[in-house]
């Protein structure tokens, strides 16, 4: 009798175990780094944005095609002078269960523009007032800014409860997932939030972002089934999964501008002929094949084709691959026998390999290139902040609006480590903020032409984002920004 009872209990336990495992679906995602902080006003790391996209929402958010859709704002209205934005909030709830109010929005956005605490306060510098009443929030700008709405889609403009404390490790947002557990260097576990305003319930109950810094380990984990998805797989390991029938790889432009940055102020690079010679001596096809395994699109100016609306096509003939002409340009500039140092950031194999190929191609036209490898912290200090370099290489992450990407080439901009300076370009970028529609597009087209003609740097490629996942996973969405949209995935 006892034996039978025990058996029955065992059977019940087994049934429970089996049924609960069938009901709870978990998605394991391999990411290479931990978030820096989950406090939206302070975060600066791409690794945070990637995960926080599922936890936090702003008034508006990015759609996969790069356009903006309403998130906590159901709709919005822009005044005719382009200076007043009126948002109508929808009924939405925080992960804590409380309803989102206009006061929460005002508090979060005021904090986001406070220079004392916010990391990206300068993005909100044009904001004069933020007022909220009932379900309406009104934001007034001191001057028109066509890029402003895109700022509100960034994680730094996310809305959280006004009374929330300790957001850095205990985020409270309104997104389709909420944080359940964060073990630094190990994993970040998200749980589904059932009260999301969309009324839609994501397929996976749990999403676990596993921190796996090494790409080979990430791939082996995918092959062994410990991990279901690698959102950003390096092209160099593609061959390890390419022939595996259980794995599929989806690719799309990353919206990253890889540039061989040239110090425009340092002789002889202050001579446009020298910069053009550098641009004409490189064969991008070789670089894309050699460094990115063919997974990239060639670039000839400062915007990626991922920003389809503003991208200026057809600039490949401005400084075409022509080593003979490149050598002539160097002679005309009196720079034959040129010798310089190419500084490569060793943390990024793609940039290192691209740089090595560039060095070979420059040496082929008689330039003497000394390659110097530096670690990322050193790179940021020497190349980016002190601007003490000849030529270097880096990837500049794209944004949703062209202004944010192109403004860094304007004279005196703090991010302009190329020391590029062109009066017409400066004027255009200023003008772009107050223009609308096709006028605005024309302004940025012209700006891209100037960058190409003046060879502000040697624009190389936009590498493709390779998302590798189990064959059964459906619904993967590529965004022009650095995010993993877990709520859209199912199987």
């Amino acid at each position: 009798m006892r034996y039978k009872l025990g058996l029955a209990a065992l059977a019940v336990l087994l049934t429970i175990a089996v049924s609960s495992s069938a009901l709870s679906a978990t998605l394991n995602v391999a990411v290479s780094a931990d978030p820096d902080t989950f406090d939206p006003t302070r975060t600066v790391a791409a690794a945070t944005v990637e995960i926080a996209f599922n936890i936090y929402e702003g008034l508006v958010k990015a759609a996969p095609d790069g356009s903006l859709v309403g998130a906590l704002a159901a709709e919005w209205d822009v005044s005719s002078d382009q200076k007043t934005y009126t948002f109508t909030l929808r009924e939405a709830f925080f992960h804590s269960g409380r309803k989102v109010t206009a006061e929460d929005v005002v508090n979060a956005l005021n904090r986001a523009r406070n220079p004392e605490i916010a990391s990206r306060w300068s993005d909100f510098a044009l904001v004069e007032t933020i007022e909220g009443e009932g379900n309406t929030v009104v934001i007034r700008l001191s001057q028109p800014n066509a890029a402003f709405l895109y700022t509100l889609a960034e994680v730094n403009a996310a809305i959280y409860p006004a009374e929330a404390e300790g957001l850095s490790s205990q985020p409270v947002g309104t997104g389709p997932y909420k944080l359940a557990e964060w073990r630094p260097n190990n994993f970040i576990r998200l749980e589904r939030f059932d009260q999301h305003w969309s009324g839609q319930v994501p397929y996976y109950d749990q999403v676990v972002f596993r921190i796996i810094p090494d790409q080979h380990s990430a791939v082996l984990n995918l092959l062994s089934g410990t991990v279901d998805l690698i959102p950003r797989m390096e092209a160099s390991v593609y061959h390890q999964v390419a022939s595996n029938p259980r794995i599929k790889v989806v690719s799309a432009p990353m919206n990253l501008v890889q540039i061989l940055a040239v110090n425009n102020q340092r002789p002889p690079f202050n001579d446009v002929r020298v910069r053009r010679a550098l641009a004409m001596a490189v064969n991008r096809e070789d670089m894309i094949f050699g460094a990115a395994w063919g997974f990239a699109q060639a670039l000839y100016s400062g915007l990626s084709p991922a920003m389809a609306q503003f991208f200026r096509d057809g600039l490949e003939n401005v400084n075409p691959y022509d080593p003979v002409r490149a050598r002539e340009l160097l002679e005309e500039a009196g720079a034959d026998g040129l010798r310089f140092t190419l500084t490569l950031p060793s943390d990024y194999p793609l940039h290192v390999q691209t740089g090595e190929i560039a060095a070979q191609q420059w040496e082929a036209i008689g330039i003497d290139v000394d390659i110097e490898l530096v670690e990322w912290g050193t790179w940021l200090d020497r190349v980016y902040t002190q601007r003490d370099y000849d030529v270097s290489i880096v990837g500049l992450a794209g944004r949703l609006d062209p202004h944010a990407v192109l403004v860094r080439y304007t004279t005196g901009n703090s991010r302009n480590f190329f020391n590029f300076s062109n009066p017409e370009f400066d004027r255009l970028i200023q003008e772009g903020l107050s223009r609308q529609g096709s006028d605005r597009i024309a302004v940025y087209h012209r700006a891209q032409e100037i960058l190409a003609q003046e060879a502000a740097g040697v624009f190389v490629m936009d590498p493709e984002q390779l998302a590798a996942m189990r064959q059964e996973i459906q619904g993967w969405q590529h965004y022009p920004v650095y995010v993993v949209d877990a709520a859209s995935l199912y199987e």
Partner: protein, 306 residues
Amino acid sequence: MGAYLVRKTASFVCVLFIISALTFLTLQVLPGDPAQLLLGTESSPQALAALRRELGLDKPAPVRFGQWLVDFVQGDFGRSIRYSVPVKDLVVQALPVTLSLAVWAVAVSLGIAVLLGVLSAAYMARWWGQVVRIISQLGMAVPQFWIGILLIQVFGVQLRLLPAGGYSNWQSLILPIATLALPRTAVLTNMVQVGLSDVLKSDYIRTAKSKGLPWRKVLFKHAFVNGAIAVATSASIQLIQLVAGTIVVEQVFGLPGIGQLLLNGVLQRDLPLVQAITVFVAVGVLIINLLMDYLLMFLDPRVRFE
């Protein structure tokens, strides 16, 4: 004995102070600072200045070191810059992983090495004594990360017997322990074998054999204890070296241990984190050394406290 303890403690504190000062100095000399690394290629001078102020980096270096020292002595290890959480929490989470890796790796390699080393020393002339020697030479030559990747490929991906990486339960530690233990087994086998062969050639062993003692008794009772002194010293050095070894292995297997934490801390110039880990590791090394002193004294009565 009392004087000895006082002297030893004083030298502990001195060593720890010098180590933490050197660590601080090294991170000061390295180019780049944590605020810059957090902000990356989107930073502006205003944002950089604000973040530096918030992190307290705008104060002069000696002031910051003094502040750190005062806090540390009081048990406040500070907040990690990279992870925005208390350093203590990070270390407490990471320590069990690294400790189990190191202790198990040493235990496993020591066990196997003693067995193989004794056998190959005692039966040097036989063919499998030679085989053990060759394998141990090979084990010393193969790089650790390569062993790790090979083990993942075979047991994690092909056979699917063990996790390929990450940390979920004790099974996740089997392959990393094997990876760490393999080269150490090779080194220790070699140590045991060389040490024991020397002892076996000595006069007192010949005497023992000639007076008719059984071979097993000669080997384990007379020869082994003398051979063990060298092995014990070498094993303690191996244990200390494991701290460096775990950095590589934790990286390959994606384990959330101290090594991984330290590496990220250095790359991000996360001073509070690096300082705390360095001091912890130093304390660990000092304690192991102390225990070794005692063990040696026990094994070799000729060693005495001076």
